[in-house]
Amino acid sequence: MEFLADVFVTPFVDMVQAPDFLMQVLWEGLVSGILYALIALGFVLIFRSSRIFNFAQGIMVVFAALTLVGLFALGVPAWLSVGLTLVVMFVLAVVIERVVLRPLVGQPDIILFMATIGITLFLIGFGETIFGGENKVMITEELGIPTGDTVLEPFGGLLILQHLDITVVIVATLLVLALLAFLNYTQMGRAIRALGDDHQAALSVGISLQTIWVLVWFIAGIIALVTGIAWGARAGVSFALEVIAYKALPVLMLGGLESITGAIVGGLMIGILEKLFEIYWGQPLLGGNTETWFAFVLALIVLLFRPQGLFGERIIERV
């Protein structure tokens, strides 16, 4: 009976008794969720256009952030470093398309997936050789990103909003909106969607596979840079950032590998729900650290009922 009360009553009583704390939990979940969604978008864009599950998305986050910090350390002004990092990510996209993907056109999906694991391992070794493995400070102030906080007192309590987090939420939201606009209202964007819908049909009307692949990998690089700045500003830039990218996996399972809406909704759902579960159920009842598995369990439950994810397309193959 006591256990049932701990599960079904106490958490909600805690929420009501300390609404300011609940707001803080929801805010932290929202910030994490937006960042998860952003990483997941990188996966989705590449999967939609090429059917490749890009295992390298995590290391691209690290590589972009390290390049930015490394260029600044060489004396390049902050915003010029951002521009040059984007150039580096574009060159990386071209090289990946030319050297890795193009020779593998027509190969089974698993081969292309394995190729992205190869890209990951290469970028880890290359990055560590060039930049070293030390934790580096993100150039937050130099980029003009605000670092203070705003303290509110809702219900007589305390709610701390970091300006960095507010900036991240705004920038990530704008980036997502820009991506949606690009995909829906530009010729290139529609070409990416066309490839996602039907490869053969898209190719038959003259859409260039090579160009689109370079484009989506470059967009994934832009997303990686924004994500790298956001996470790096929170706790430094190191190869540990790669691990965070794997939090996008349950987001993709939940939202569907092909769905941009799914990536956004899935990211927000997981960010907020895992935080609520950890604070109100995980820590009091299970000893904490439930965020390492909660998102995967949630995604598995969804897959039981919707194998294609919440927003994925149901694929029916007729034999």
């Binding site: 803080q24 560590e128 493995g133 934790n135 604070i279 904490g288 650290n289």
Partner: protein
């Protein structure tokens, strides 16, 4: 590749010169981690270790006339890779340096049969201090239980009774390393009447600890102790600043006192403390020798040589070198075996005078080891981040050995029983 080259060279010399003698080396592999999420902690430590051995080779021609082959095997702090490295290097090694509590625990039983000493300075399994049971394992100059005891003394101001009724959080990596202090802290909580709250941090949460710090905000602890490693440290310190947790109530173990981690927050981290059995001494005579024989010759990868971790790396290699030197003197041979090195590590005498001879005065408290005491229990200092660097913030603190020793013996005997048949050094007097 390095070994292949040596092998090829030796074979060529042998074929040309017939019976020509080949110079021996003291092969001391280091299971290093310069890559992955924990590299931030590893790189400066490994640089310090390597530079000290390079100095001995360049300045003195090695130890007792035998050069030291200080080869690194990269583990990325992964237990599986660490065990592979151990297996790959053990054939020629006189020692193994596992560099992770997880790897140490895996390798511990193997070293009994392979008869290779484990050297784990300031890490590993705390009961390894009891040399009667752990004949081949050494964790000088301080164990984690020593560290926990000293941290508790520091936060209590020396009056443990004052902790009664307080709440203390242990924020720890969810890994064997992070769980090491829990038995001692639970015992102390029972004795002194404080509430101990354990908050684990998973590997995937190291850089996103908002949940852990929300819990800390809810619990309102009087103190937070941190057992962090690698990226976890910077993650915790930035979250502490973000949630406005008072820095003077936040204390880390010695692996959570890295300059680079605190630089993430700079001035905002002022007041954060870390217990340490080593003390940076940028003006120590050994630094001048390093400049002359190592840095100026381009033989070092190190950049920030006055940082806590780099200088601790020097001390760690000094402990190994002194063990090898002692073994050479005890057995009257320069080319020592692993068993002879075990004797050396069991008879370390790191005195003030010896530290002065080495040009390392003040870099580590004096300590000595014996067959029953494989740690030495040197004590340590509290270091405090002043916004730019770590500075000394206490006199030498000593662990509560009366409390810890029985726990070490009990845990060691329990370990031996659980892993029976476990060879014990019957000749060793526990009181020695």
């Amino acid at each position: 590749m390095k070994h292949f080259t040596k092998l090829a060279t030796a074979a060529a010399l042998g074929s040309v010169l017939g019976t020509a003698a080949i110079a021996q080396e003291l092969y001391t592999p280091n299971l290093a981690y310069r890559t992955g999420p924990f590299a931030a902690t590893g790189i400066p430590l490994m640089n310090g270790q390597a530079d000290y051995m390079t100095l001995l080779n360049e300045r003195d021609g090695g130890i007792g006339g035998v050069t030291v082959d200080f080869e690194e095997c990269e583990t990325g702090y992964s237990t599986e890779k660490g065990v592979e490295c151990y297996e790959r290097t053990k054939a020629d090694a006189v020692v193994t340096q596992p560099w992770s509590t997880g790897i140490t625990l895996q390798v511990l039983p193997k070293t009994n049969t392979d008869e290779i000493p484990i050297l784990a300075p300031g890490y590993g399994f705390s009961p390894m201090a009891y040399g009667k049971v752990f004949q081949w394992a050494f964790n000088p100059p301080s164990s984690y239980w020593d560290g926990a005891s000293m941290m508790m003394q520091a936060i209590s101001g020396g009056d443990m009774a004052s902790l009664s009724g307080t709440k203390i959080v242990l924020l720890h990596l969810d890994h064997p390393y992070g769980k090491e202090p829990i038995p001692l802290l639970e015992k102390m909580a029972e004795m002194h009447g404080f509430d101990l709250v354990l908050i684990p941090v998973g590997l995937s949460q190291m850089q996103n600890q908002s949940s852990q710090w929300l819990q800390i905000r809810r619990e309102r602890p009087d103190f937070v102790l941190m057992w962090g490693w690698g990226a976890m440290n910077a993650g915790a310190i930035t979250e502490a600043v973000k949630t406005r947790y008072p820095m003077d109530q936040f204390v880390g173990i010695w692996w959570a006192g890295h300059d680079a981690d605190l630089q993430q927050v700079g001035e905002d981290g002022a007041g954060y403390r870390s217990i340490s059995w080593s003390m940076p001494q940028p003006d120590a005579p050994i630094m001048a020798d390093l400049e002359e024989y190592v840095f100026s010759r381009g033989l070092s990868q190190a950049e920030d040589t006055d940082w806590v971790f780099y200088q601790r790396g020097l001390v760690i290699s000094m402990i190994l070198a002194e063990g090898m030197r002692t073994a050479q003197q005890m057995h009257d041979t320069a080319e020592i075996t692993p068993a002879q090195l075990r004797d050396g590590l069991e008879n370390l005498e790191i005195t003030e005078e010896r530290l002065a001879e080495l040009g390392m005065s003040g870099m580590v408290p004096p300590f000595s080891t014996s067959c029953a005491d494989h740690t030495g229990h040197s004590g340590g200092w509290m270091l405090e981040w002043d916004g730019e660097k770590f500075v000394q913030a206490s006199d030498l603190l000593m662990p509560d050995r009366d409390l810890i020793r029985p726990l070490e013996i009990a845990a060691a005997e329990e370990y031996a029983e659980a892993n029976a048949p476990w060879p014990v050094n019957e000749a060793c007097d526990p009181e020695s």
